[in-house]
Assembly symmetry: C2
Homo-oligomer: 272 residues x 2
Amino acid sequence: MNDNRPIGVFDSGLGGLTVYKALKEALPDESFVYLGDTARLPYGTKSAETVTQYALQAARRLVEEDIKLLVVACNTASAQALPGLKKALPELPCFGVIEPGARAAAEASSSGHIVVLATEGTVRSEAYPKHIQQYNPQARVHSLACNLLVALVEEGWHEGPEAEAVVSRYFQMLNGVSFDALVLGCTHFPLLKETIRKFLPAETKLVDSATTTAKAVKDYLNGSGKFKKSPRKEEDRFLVTDAPERFRRLAKRFLPGANISAVEQVDPVISR
Amino acid sequence: MNDNRPIGVFDSGLGGLTVYKALKEALPDESFVYLGDTARLPYGTKSAETVTQYALQAARRLVEEDIKLLVVACNTASAQALPGLKKALPELPCFGVIEPGARAAAEASSSGHIVVLATEGTVRSEAYPKHIQQYNPQARVHSLACNLLVALVEEGWHEGPEAEAVVSRYFQMLNGVSFDALVLGCTHFPLLKETIRKFLPAETKLVDSATTTAKAVKDYLNGSGKFKKSPRKEEDRFLVTDAPERFRRLAKRFLPGANISAVEQVDPVISR
Protein backbone atom coordinates (compact mmCIF):
# COMPACT_ATOMS: atom_id res chain seq x y z
CA MET A 1 0.00 0.00 0.00
CA ASN A 2 2.94 2.36 0.49
CA ASP A 3 3.74 4.66 -2.36
CA ASN A 4 7.24 6.06 -2.67
CA ARG A 5 6.47 8.35 -5.61
CA PRO A 6 6.79 12.10 -5.08
CA ILE A 7 4.01 14.61 -4.48
CA GLY A 8 3.64 17.17 -7.28
CA VAL A 9 3.15 20.81 -6.33
CA PHE A 10 2.20 23.32 -8.98
CA ASP A 11 1.99 27.12 -8.94
CA SER A 12 2.17 29.96 -11.46
CA GLY A 13 5.50 30.92 -9.92
CA LEU A 14 6.82 31.42 -6.42
CA GLY A 15 3.78 31.86 -4.17
CA GLY A 16 3.16 28.12 -4.01
CA LEU A 17 6.34 27.79 -1.98
CA THR A 18 4.30 28.87 1.07
CA VAL A 19 2.14 25.77 0.52
CA TYR A 20 5.16 23.59 -0.23
CA LYS A 21 6.64 24.68 3.12
CA ALA A 22 3.49 23.66 5.01
CA LEU A 23 3.39 20.33 3.14
CA LYS A 24 6.98 19.56 4.10
CA GLU A 25 6.30 20.38 7.73
CA ALA A 26 3.25 18.12 7.79
CA LEU A 27 4.83 15.34 5.73
CA PRO A 28 8.58 15.39 6.44
CA ASP A 29 9.27 11.97 4.90
CA GLU A 30 7.65 12.66 1.52
CA SER A 31 9.47 13.74 -1.63
CA PHE A 32 8.26 16.70 -3.67
CA VAL A 33 8.53 17.94 -7.23
CA TYR A 34 7.59 21.62 -7.50
CA LEU A 35 6.71 23.22 -10.85
CA GLY A 36 6.51 27.03 -11.19
CA ASP A 37 5.11 28.29 -14.49
CA THR A 38 7.36 31.35 -14.50
CA ALA A 39 7.12 31.78 -18.29
CA ARG A 40 3.48 32.73 -17.98
CA LEU A 41 3.07 34.14 -14.46
CA PRO A 42 1.07 35.75 -12.97
CA TYR A 43 -2.23 33.92 -13.42
CA GLY A 44 -4.27 36.38 -11.31
CA THR A 45 -5.14 38.71 -14.18
CA LYS A 46 -5.75 36.07 -16.87
CA SER A 47 -8.96 34.42 -18.07
CA ALA A 48 -10.31 31.13 -16.71
CA GLU A 49 -9.82 29.47 -20.12
CA THR A 50 -6.17 30.48 -20.35
CA VAL A 51 -5.44 29.56 -16.73
CA THR A 52 -7.07 26.15 -17.26
CA GLN A 53 -4.96 25.55 -20.35
CA TYR A 54 -1.75 26.50 -18.52
CA ALA A 55 -2.64 24.41 -15.45
CA LEU A 56 -3.36 21.37 -17.56
CA GLN A 57 -0.01 21.67 -19.33
CA ALA A 58 1.73 21.96 -15.97
CA ALA A 59 -0.14 19.00 -14.49
CA ARG A 60 0.76 16.83 -17.51
CA ARG A 61 4.40 17.83 -17.11
CA LEU A 62 4.29 16.72 -13.47
CA VAL A 63 2.58 13.45 -14.42
CA GLU A 64 5.70 12.75 -16.49
CA GLU A 65 7.60 12.94 -13.18
CA ASP A 66 5.47 10.03 -11.94
CA ILE A 67 3.79 11.91 -9.07
CA LYS A 68 1.29 10.14 -6.84
CA LEU A 69 -0.89 13.19 -6.29
CA LEU A 70 -1.03 16.85 -7.32
CA VAL A 71 -1.38 19.91 -5.11
CA VAL A 72 -2.47 23.01 -7.04
CA ALA A 73 -0.68 25.48 -4.76
CA CYS A 74 -2.16 28.56 -6.44
CA ASN A 75 -5.46 30.12 -5.52
CA THR A 76 -6.21 31.40 -9.02
CA ALA A 77 -5.55 28.02 -10.64
CA SER A 78 -7.47 26.22 -7.88
CA ALA A 79 -10.41 28.57 -8.38
CA GLN A 80 -10.47 28.39 -12.15
CA ALA A 81 -8.87 25.14 -13.27
CA LEU A 82 -9.48 22.42 -10.67
CA PRO A 83 -12.65 20.99 -12.24
CA GLY A 84 -10.95 20.93 -15.65
CA LEU A 85 -7.89 19.20 -14.21
CA LYS A 86 -9.92 16.52 -12.46
CA LYS A 87 -11.87 15.86 -15.63
CA ALA A 88 -8.79 15.67 -17.86
CA LEU A 89 -6.75 13.58 -15.42
CA PRO A 90 -9.29 11.37 -13.61
CA GLU A 91 -6.64 8.94 -12.29
CA LEU A 92 -4.65 11.66 -10.51
CA PRO A 93 -5.76 12.78 -7.03
CA CYS A 94 -5.84 16.61 -7.18
CA PHE A 95 -5.95 19.00 -4.23
CA GLY A 96 -6.57 22.73 -4.52
CA VAL A 97 -6.04 25.39 -1.87
CA ILE A 98 -9.46 27.04 -1.99
CA GLU A 99 -11.62 24.34 -0.42
CA PRO A 100 -9.37 23.84 2.65
CA GLY A 101 -9.03 27.62 3.06
CA ALA A 102 -12.77 28.12 2.78
CA ARG A 103 -13.40 25.47 5.40
CA ALA A 104 -10.87 27.02 7.77
CA ALA A 105 -12.47 30.46 7.25
CA ALA A 106 -15.97 29.16 7.96
CA GLU A 107 -14.69 27.54 11.16
CA ALA A 108 -12.70 30.62 12.24
CA SER A 109 -15.58 33.10 11.87
CA SER A 110 -18.19 33.37 14.61
CA SER A 111 -20.19 36.14 12.95
CA GLY A 112 -20.11 34.59 9.48
CA HIS A 113 -18.79 37.89 8.10
CA ILE A 114 -15.62 37.04 6.22
CA VAL A 115 -13.31 39.08 4.00
CA VAL A 116 -11.29 37.41 1.25
CA LEU A 117 -8.22 39.15 -0.21
CA ALA A 118 -7.33 37.52 -3.52
CA THR A 119 -6.34 38.09 -7.14
CA GLU A 120 -8.74 39.43 -9.73
CA GLY A 121 -9.18 35.92 -11.22
CA THR A 122 -9.96 34.28 -7.88
CA VAL A 123 -12.46 36.99 -6.99
CA ARG A 124 -14.14 36.71 -10.41
CA SER A 125 -14.51 32.93 -10.00
CA GLU A 126 -16.48 33.37 -6.74
CA ALA A 127 -14.88 30.13 -5.56
CA TYR A 128 -14.35 31.31 -1.97
CA PRO A 129 -17.94 32.47 -1.31
CA LYS A 130 -19.29 29.26 -2.88
CA HIS A 131 -17.09 26.98 -0.79
CA ILE A 132 -17.46 28.99 2.44
CA GLN A 133 -21.24 28.81 2.11
CA GLN A 134 -21.04 25.03 1.85
CA TYR A 135 -19.79 25.06 5.46
CA ASN A 136 -21.87 28.02 6.63
CA PRO A 137 -24.85 28.81 4.40
CA GLN A 138 -25.44 32.05 6.35
CA ALA A 139 -21.92 33.36 5.75
CA ARG A 140 -21.51 36.77 4.15
CA VAL A 141 -18.31 36.95 2.16
CA HIS A 142 -16.76 40.20 0.92
CA SER A 143 -14.09 39.66 -1.72
CA LEU A 144 -11.45 42.19 -2.68
CA ALA A 145 -9.11 41.92 -5.66
CA CYS A 146 -5.63 43.00 -4.54
CA ASN A 147 -3.34 42.37 -7.54
CA LEU A 148 -0.79 44.90 -6.35
CA LEU A 149 0.00 42.84 -3.24
CA VAL A 150 1.52 40.14 -5.45
CA ALA A 151 3.98 42.59 -7.00
CA LEU A 152 4.76 44.02 -3.56
CA VAL A 153 5.75 40.59 -2.24
CA GLU A 154 7.78 39.74 -5.35
CA GLU A 155 9.69 43.01 -4.88
CA GLY A 156 10.44 41.91 -1.31
CA TRP A 157 8.66 44.93 0.18
CA HIS A 158 6.25 43.10 2.48
CA GLU A 159 6.95 45.44 5.38
CA GLY A 160 7.46 49.17 5.59
CA PRO A 161 5.64 52.36 4.64
CA GLU A 162 4.95 51.33 1.01
CA ALA A 163 3.32 48.04 2.01
CA GLU A 164 1.30 49.84 4.67
CA ALA A 165 0.12 52.52 2.26
CA VAL A 166 -1.03 49.91 -0.26
CA VAL A 167 -2.69 47.61 2.29
CA SER A 168 -4.39 50.60 3.89
CA ARG A 169 -5.93 51.67 0.59
CA TYR A 170 -7.28 48.18 -0.07
CA PHE A 171 -8.87 48.11 3.38
CA GLN A 172 -10.45 51.53 2.72
CA MET A 173 -12.17 49.91 -0.26
CA LEU A 174 -14.07 47.67 2.16
CA ASN A 175 -16.04 50.77 3.23
CA GLY A 176 -16.08 49.88 6.91
CA VAL A 177 -17.71 46.46 6.52
CA SER A 178 -17.36 44.46 9.73
CA PHE A 179 -15.81 41.00 9.77
CA ASP A 180 -14.06 38.67 12.19
CA ALA A 181 -12.09 36.48 9.77
CA LEU A 182 -9.88 37.42 6.85
CA VAL A 183 -8.72 34.93 4.22
CA LEU A 184 -5.28 35.42 2.66
CA GLY A 185 -6.62 34.10 -0.64
CA CYS A 186 -3.39 34.17 -2.63
CA THR A 187 -0.27 32.21 -1.79
CA HIS A 188 1.80 35.41 -1.80
CA PHE A 189 -0.22 37.06 0.93
CA PRO A 190 0.98 35.14 4.02
CA LEU A 191 4.23 37.11 3.63
CA LEU A 192 2.21 40.29 4.27
CA LYS A 193 0.67 38.95 7.47
CA GLU A 194 2.52 41.30 9.82
CA THR A 195 1.60 44.35 7.78
CA ILE A 196 -2.05 43.30 7.39
CA ARG A 197 -2.27 42.64 11.15
CA LYS A 198 -1.57 46.32 11.84
CA PHE A 199 -4.89 47.31 10.29
CA LEU A 200 -7.06 44.76 12.09
CA PRO A 201 -8.37 44.31 15.65
CA ALA A 202 -6.37 41.69 17.55
CA GLU A 203 -9.33 39.30 17.63
CA THR A 204 -9.70 39.10 13.83
CA LYS A 205 -8.66 35.67 12.62
CA LEU A 206 -6.21 35.48 9.71
CA VAL A 207 -6.71 32.36 7.60
CA ASP A 208 -4.33 31.02 5.02
CA SER A 209 -4.74 27.85 3.04
CA ALA A 210 -1.25 26.44 3.37
CA THR A 211 -1.64 24.59 6.68
CA THR A 212 -5.17 23.36 6.01
CA THR A 213 -4.23 22.17 2.53
CA ALA A 214 -1.30 20.24 3.99
CA LYS A 215 -3.69 18.70 6.48
CA ALA A 216 -6.10 17.66 3.71
CA VAL A 217 -3.25 15.95 1.84
CA LYS A 218 -2.10 14.21 5.02
CA ASP A 219 -5.65 12.98 5.71
CA TYR A 220 -5.79 11.57 2.18
CA LEU A 221 -2.48 9.75 2.63
CA ASN A 222 -3.71 8.40 5.99
CA GLY A 223 -6.93 7.17 4.41
CA SER A 224 -5.34 5.61 1.35
CA GLY A 225 -2.16 4.38 3.03
CA LYS A 226 -0.14 5.89 0.22
CA PHE A 227 2.57 7.25 2.53
CA LYS A 228 6.15 7.04 1.49
CA LYS A 229 7.64 3.91 3.05
CA SER A 230 11.19 4.98 3.74
CA PRO A 231 12.29 8.28 5.29
CA ARG A 232 13.25 10.80 2.63
CA LYS A 233 16.76 10.93 1.37
CA GLU A 234 16.53 12.52 -2.05
CA GLU A 235 16.44 16.29 -2.49
CA ASP A 236 13.17 17.87 -3.59
CA ARG A 237 13.19 19.01 -7.20
CA PHE A 238 12.21 22.43 -8.53
CA LEU A 239 11.16 22.87 -12.15
CA VAL A 240 10.40 26.24 -13.76
CA THR A 241 9.30 27.18 -17.26
CA ASP A 242 11.55 30.27 -17.38
CA ALA A 243 14.37 32.12 -15.60
CA PRO A 244 15.63 29.52 -13.06
CA GLU A 245 18.15 31.97 -11.62
CA ARG A 246 15.42 34.48 -10.75
CA PHE A 247 13.39 31.70 -9.09
CA ARG A 248 16.37 30.63 -6.99
CA ARG A 249 16.99 34.22 -5.90
CA LEU A 250 13.37 35.07 -5.03
CA ALA A 251 12.62 31.68 -3.43
CA LYS A 252 14.59 32.83 -0.39
CA ARG A 253 11.81 35.33 0.38
CA PHE A 254 9.31 32.50 0.62
CA LEU A 255 11.56 29.90 2.25
CA PRO A 256 14.02 31.75 4.50
CA GLY A 257 16.91 29.48 5.36
CA ALA A 258 16.01 26.81 2.80
CA ASN A 259 18.65 25.71 0.38
CA ILE A 260 17.18 25.53 -3.12
CA SER A 261 20.24 24.65 -5.11
CA ALA A 262 19.12 22.99 -8.32
CA VAL A 263 16.33 24.62 -10.30
CA GLU A 264 15.68 22.99 -13.69
CA GLN A 265 14.13 24.72 -16.67
CA VAL A 266 11.45 22.79 -18.59
CA ASP A 267 9.31 23.54 -21.64
CA PRO A 268 5.94 24.94 -20.59
CA VAL A 269 4.05 23.54 -23.54
CA ILE A 270 3.72 19.79 -23.31
CA SER A 271 0.58 19.26 -25.32
CA ARG A 272 -1.73 21.65 -27.03
CA MET B 1 5.13 54.55 -53.67
CA ASN B 2 2.23 55.05 -51.29
CA ASP B 3 1.40 52.16 -49.02
CA ASN B 4 -2.09 51.86 -47.59
CA ARG B 5 -1.33 48.88 -45.38
CA PRO B 6 -1.63 49.34 -41.61
CA ILE B 7 1.18 49.87 -39.10
CA GLY B 8 1.55 47.01 -36.60
CA VAL B 9 2.09 47.90 -32.93
CA PHE B 10 3.02 45.19 -30.47
CA ASP B 11 3.27 45.16 -26.69
CA SER B 12 3.09 42.61 -23.89
CA GLY B 13 -0.21 44.16 -22.87
CA LEU B 14 -1.48 47.65 -22.30
CA GLY B 15 1.58 49.87 -21.85
CA GLY B 16 2.18 50.09 -25.59
CA LEU B 17 -0.98 52.16 -25.85
CA THR B 18 1.09 55.18 -24.75
CA VAL B 19 3.21 54.64 -27.88
CA TYR B 20 0.16 53.98 -30.05
CA LYS B 21 -1.26 57.30 -28.88
CA ALA B 22 1.91 59.18 -29.90
CA LEU B 23 1.95 57.38 -33.26
CA LYS B 24 -1.64 58.38 -33.98
CA GLU B 25 -0.91 61.99 -33.10
CA ALA B 26 2.13 62.06 -35.40
CA LEU B 27 0.49 60.07 -38.21
CA PRO B 28 -3.23 60.83 -38.11
CA ASP B 29 -3.98 59.35 -41.54
CA GLU B 30 -2.39 55.95 -40.93
CA SER B 31 -4.24 52.79 -39.88
CA PHE B 32 -3.02 50.68 -36.97
CA VAL B 33 -3.32 47.10 -35.78
CA TYR B 34 -2.35 46.75 -32.12
CA LEU B 35 -1.49 43.38 -30.58
CA GLY B 36 -1.28 42.96 -26.78
CA ASP B 37 0.10 39.61 -25.59
CA THR B 38 -2.12 39.59 -22.51
CA ALA B 39 -1.92 35.79 -22.14
CA ARG B 40 1.74 36.04 -21.21
CA LEU B 41 2.21 39.53 -19.75
CA PRO B 42 4.23 40.98 -18.14
CA TYR B 43 7.51 40.53 -20.01
CA GLY B 44 9.59 42.57 -17.55
CA THR B 45 10.46 39.64 -15.27
CA LYS B 46 11.00 37.00 -17.97
CA SER B 47 14.19 35.80 -19.66
CA ALA B 48 15.53 37.20 -22.94
CA GLU B 49 14.97 33.83 -24.66
CA THR B 50 11.33 33.61 -23.61
CA VAL B 51 10.63 37.26 -24.47
CA THR B 52 12.23 36.77 -27.89
CA GLN B 53 10.07 33.70 -28.54
CA TYR B 54 6.90 35.55 -27.52
CA ALA B 55 7.80 38.65 -29.55
CA LEU B 56 8.47 36.58 -32.64
CA GLN B 57 5.12 34.84 -32.36
CA ALA B 58 3.40 38.21 -31.98
CA ALA B 59 5.26 39.73 -34.93
CA ARG B 60 4.31 36.77 -37.14
CA ARG B 61 0.68 37.18 -36.11
CA LEU B 62 0.82 40.83 -37.16
CA VAL B 63 2.50 39.93 -40.45
CA GLU B 64 -0.65 37.91 -41.17
CA GLU B 65 -2.52 41.23 -40.90
CA ASP B 66 -0.39 42.51 -43.81
CA ILE B 67 1.33 45.32 -41.90
CA LYS B 68 3.84 47.56 -43.65
CA LEU B 69 6.05 48.02 -40.59
CA LEU B 70 6.21 46.93 -36.97
CA VAL B 71 6.63 49.08 -33.86
CA VAL B 72 7.72 47.09 -30.81
CA ALA B 73 5.99 49.35 -28.29
CA CYS B 74 7.45 47.60 -25.25
CA ASN B 75 10.80 48.45 -23.70
CA THR B 76 11.51 44.92 -22.49
CA ALA B 77 10.79 43.37 -25.90
CA SER B 78 12.74 46.14 -27.67
CA ALA B 79 15.70 45.56 -25.36
CA GLN B 80 15.70 41.78 -25.61
CA ALA B 81 14.05 40.75 -28.86
CA LEU B 82 14.67 43.40 -31.53
CA PRO B 83 17.83 41.81 -33.02
CA GLY B 84 16.08 38.42 -33.12
CA LEU B 85 13.01 39.91 -34.80
CA LYS B 86 15.04 41.71 -37.46
CA LYS B 87 16.95 38.51 -38.21
CA ALA B 88 13.84 36.31 -38.39
CA LEU B 89 11.81 38.82 -40.44
CA PRO B 90 14.35 40.64 -42.62
CA GLU B 91 11.70 42.03 -45.01
CA LEU B 92 9.76 43.80 -42.24
CA PRO B 93 10.91 47.25 -41.07
CA CYS B 94 11.02 47.02 -37.24
CA PHE B 95 11.19 49.93 -34.79
CA GLY B 96 11.84 49.57 -31.08
CA VAL B 97 11.36 52.19 -28.38
CA ILE B 98 14.81 52.01 -26.76
CA GLU B 99 16.95 53.59 -29.45
CA PRO B 100 14.73 56.70 -29.87
CA GLY B 101 14.43 57.03 -26.08
CA ALA B 102 18.19 56.71 -25.62
CA ARG B 103 18.82 59.37 -28.24
CA ALA B 104 16.32 61.73 -26.61
CA ALA B 105 17.95 61.17 -23.22
CA ALA B 106 21.44 61.84 -24.53
CA GLU B 107 20.19 65.09 -26.08
CA ALA B 108 18.24 66.13 -22.96
CA SER B 109 21.13 65.69 -20.52
CA SER B 110 23.78 68.40 -20.24
CA SER B 111 25.79 66.67 -17.51
CA GLY B 112 25.65 63.21 -19.12
CA HIS B 113 24.36 61.81 -15.85
CA ILE B 114 21.15 59.97 -16.68
CA VAL B 115 18.85 57.73 -14.65
CA VAL B 116 16.76 55.03 -16.36
CA LEU B 117 13.71 53.58 -14.61
CA ALA B 118 12.76 50.30 -16.29
CA THR B 119 11.73 46.69 -15.79
CA GLU B 120 14.12 44.04 -14.51
CA GLY B 121 14.51 42.62 -18.05
CA THR B 122 15.31 45.97 -19.64
CA VAL B 123 17.86 46.79 -16.93
CA ARG B 124 19.48 43.36 -17.28
CA SER B 125 19.84 43.83 -21.07
CA GLU B 126 21.84 47.06 -20.58
CA ALA B 127 20.22 48.30 -23.79
CA TYR B 128 19.73 51.89 -22.54
CA PRO B 129 23.35 52.50 -21.41
CA LYS B 130 24.65 50.97 -24.65
CA HIS B 131 22.44 53.13 -26.87
CA ILE B 132 22.87 56.31 -24.81
CA GLN B 133 26.64 55.94 -25.03
CA GLN B 134 26.40 55.76 -28.82
CA TYR B 135 25.20 59.37 -28.71
CA ASN B 136 27.31 60.48 -25.77
CA PRO B 137 30.28 58.20 -25.02
CA GLN B 138 30.92 60.10 -21.76
CA ALA B 139 27.41 59.50 -20.44
CA ARG B 140 27.01 57.85 -17.04
CA VAL B 141 23.80 55.88 -16.87
CA HIS B 142 22.27 54.61 -13.63
CA SER B 143 19.56 52.00 -14.19
CA LEU B 144 16.95 51.02 -11.64
CA ALA B 145 14.57 48.06 -11.95
CA CYS B 146 11.10 49.20 -10.81
CA ASN B 147 8.77 46.24 -11.48
CA LEU B 148 6.26 47.40 -8.90
CA LEU B 149 5.48 50.56 -10.88
CA VAL B 150 3.91 48.42 -13.62
CA ALA B 151 1.46 46.85 -11.16
CA LEU B 152 0.74 50.28 -9.67
CA VAL B 153 -0.28 51.68 -13.05
CA GLU B 154 -2.35 48.60 -13.94
CA GLU B 155 -4.21 49.03 -10.65
CA GLY B 156 -4.95 52.61 -11.66
CA TRP B 157 -3.12 54.04 -8.64
CA HIS B 158 -0.71 56.36 -10.45
CA GLU B 159 -1.33 59.21 -8.06
CA GLY B 160 -1.82 59.35 -4.31
CA PRO B 161 0.04 58.33 -1.17
CA GLU B 162 0.68 54.70 -2.27
CA ALA B 163 2.28 55.75 -5.57
CA GLU B 164 4.34 58.37 -3.74
CA ALA B 165 5.53 55.88 -1.11
CA VAL B 166 6.61 53.40 -3.78
CA VAL B 167 8.29 55.98 -6.05
CA SER B 168 10.02 57.51 -3.04
CA ARG B 169 11.54 54.16 -2.06
CA TYR B 170 12.85 53.56 -5.57
CA PHE B 171 14.48 57.01 -5.59
CA GLN B 172 16.09 56.26 -2.21
CA MET B 173 17.76 53.29 -3.90
CA LEU B 174 19.68 55.74 -6.12
CA ASN B 175 21.69 56.73 -3.00
CA GLY B 176 21.75 60.41 -3.82
CA VAL B 177 23.34 60.07 -7.27
CA SER B 178 23.01 63.34 -9.20
CA PHE B 179 21.42 63.44 -12.66
CA ASP B 180 19.69 65.92 -14.93
CA ALA B 181 17.66 63.56 -17.14
CA LEU B 182 15.43 60.63 -16.23
CA VAL B 183 14.20 58.07 -18.76
CA LEU B 184 10.75 56.55 -18.25
CA GLY B 185 12.05 53.26 -19.65
CA CYS B 186 8.80 51.30 -19.58
CA THR B 187 5.67 52.21 -21.50
CA HIS B 188 3.63 52.16 -18.27
CA PHE B 189 5.71 54.83 -16.59
CA PRO B 190 4.51 57.97 -18.45
CA LEU B 191 1.28 57.57 -16.46
CA LEU B 192 3.33 58.14 -13.28
CA LYS B 193 4.89 61.34 -14.59
CA GLU B 194 3.10 63.68 -12.17
CA THR B 195 4.05 61.57 -9.16
CA ILE B 196 7.66 61.16 -10.26
CA ARG B 197 7.91 64.93 -10.85
CA LYS B 198 7.26 65.57 -7.15
CA PHE B 199 10.58 63.96 -6.23
CA LEU B 200 12.74 65.80 -8.76
CA PRO B 201 14.08 69.35 -9.17
CA ALA B 202 12.06 71.31 -11.74
CA GLU B 203 15.01 71.42 -14.15
CA THR B 204 15.34 67.60 -14.41
CA LYS B 205 14.25 66.47 -17.87
CA LEU B 206 11.78 63.59 -18.08
CA VAL B 207 12.22 61.53 -21.24
CA ASP B 208 9.78 58.98 -22.59
CA SER B 209 10.14 57.05 -25.83
CA ALA B 210 6.64 57.46 -27.19
CA THR B 211 7.06 60.80 -28.99
CA THR B 212 10.56 60.10 -30.26
CA THR B 213 9.58 56.65 -31.50
CA ALA B 214 6.65 58.17 -33.39
CA LYS B 215 9.05 60.67 -34.92
CA ALA B 216 11.42 57.88 -36.02
CA VAL B 217 8.53 56.08 -37.72
CA LYS B 218 7.40 59.30 -39.39
CA ASP B 219 10.94 59.96 -40.65
CA TYR B 220 11.04 56.46 -42.12
CA LEU B 221 7.72 56.98 -43.91
CA ASN B 222 8.98 60.34 -45.21
CA GLY B 223 12.15 58.74 -46.48
CA SER B 224 10.51 55.73 -48.09
CA GLY B 225 7.34 57.49 -49.27
CA LYS B 226 5.30 54.67 -47.79
CA PHE B 227 2.65 56.98 -46.37
CA LYS B 228 -0.96 55.98 -46.56
CA LYS B 229 -2.46 57.61 -49.66
CA SER B 230 -5.99 58.34 -48.55
CA PRO B 231 -7.04 59.83 -45.23
CA ARG B 232 -8.00 57.14 -42.75
CA LYS B 233 -11.55 55.93 -42.60
CA GLU B 234 -11.34 52.48 -41.05
CA GLU B 235 -11.20 51.97 -37.28
CA ASP B 236 -7.93 50.80 -35.74
CA ARG B 237 -7.97 47.17 -34.67
CA PHE B 238 -6.97 45.77 -31.28
CA LEU B 239 -5.97 42.13 -30.91
CA VAL B 240 -5.20 40.45 -27.59
CA THR B 241 -4.13 36.93 -26.70
CA ASP B 242 -6.34 36.78 -23.58
CA ALA B 243 -9.12 38.55 -21.68
CA PRO B 244 -10.38 41.16 -24.23
CA GLU B 245 -12.87 42.58 -21.73
CA ARG B 246 -10.10 43.38 -19.24
CA PHE B 247 -8.08 45.06 -22.00
CA ARG B 248 -11.05 47.20 -23.01
CA ARG B 249 -11.61 48.23 -19.39
CA LEU B 250 -7.97 49.05 -18.56
CA ALA B 251 -7.24 50.69 -21.93
CA LYS B 252 -9.17 53.74 -20.71
CA ARG B 253 -6.37 54.44 -18.22
CA PHE B 254 -3.88 54.69 -21.07
CA LEU B 255 -6.14 56.42 -23.61
CA PRO B 256 -8.54 58.65 -21.70
CA GLY B 257 -11.47 59.58 -23.91
CA ALA B 258 -10.61 57.07 -26.65
CA ASN B 259 -13.29 54.68 -27.79
CA ILE B 260 -11.86 51.18 -28.03
CA SER B 261 -14.95 49.26 -28.95
CA ALA B 262 -13.88 46.04 -30.65
CA VAL B 263 -11.10 43.99 -29.08
CA GLU B 264 -10.51 40.63 -30.77
CA GLN B 265 -8.97 37.60 -29.11
CA VAL B 266 -6.33 35.69 -31.09
CA ASP B 267 -4.21 32.61 -30.42
CA PRO B 268 -0.78 33.62 -29.05
CA VAL B 269 1.04 30.68 -30.57
CA ILE B 270 1.25 30.95 -34.33
CA SER B 271 4.36 28.96 -34.99
CA ARG B 272 6.73 27.12 -32.73
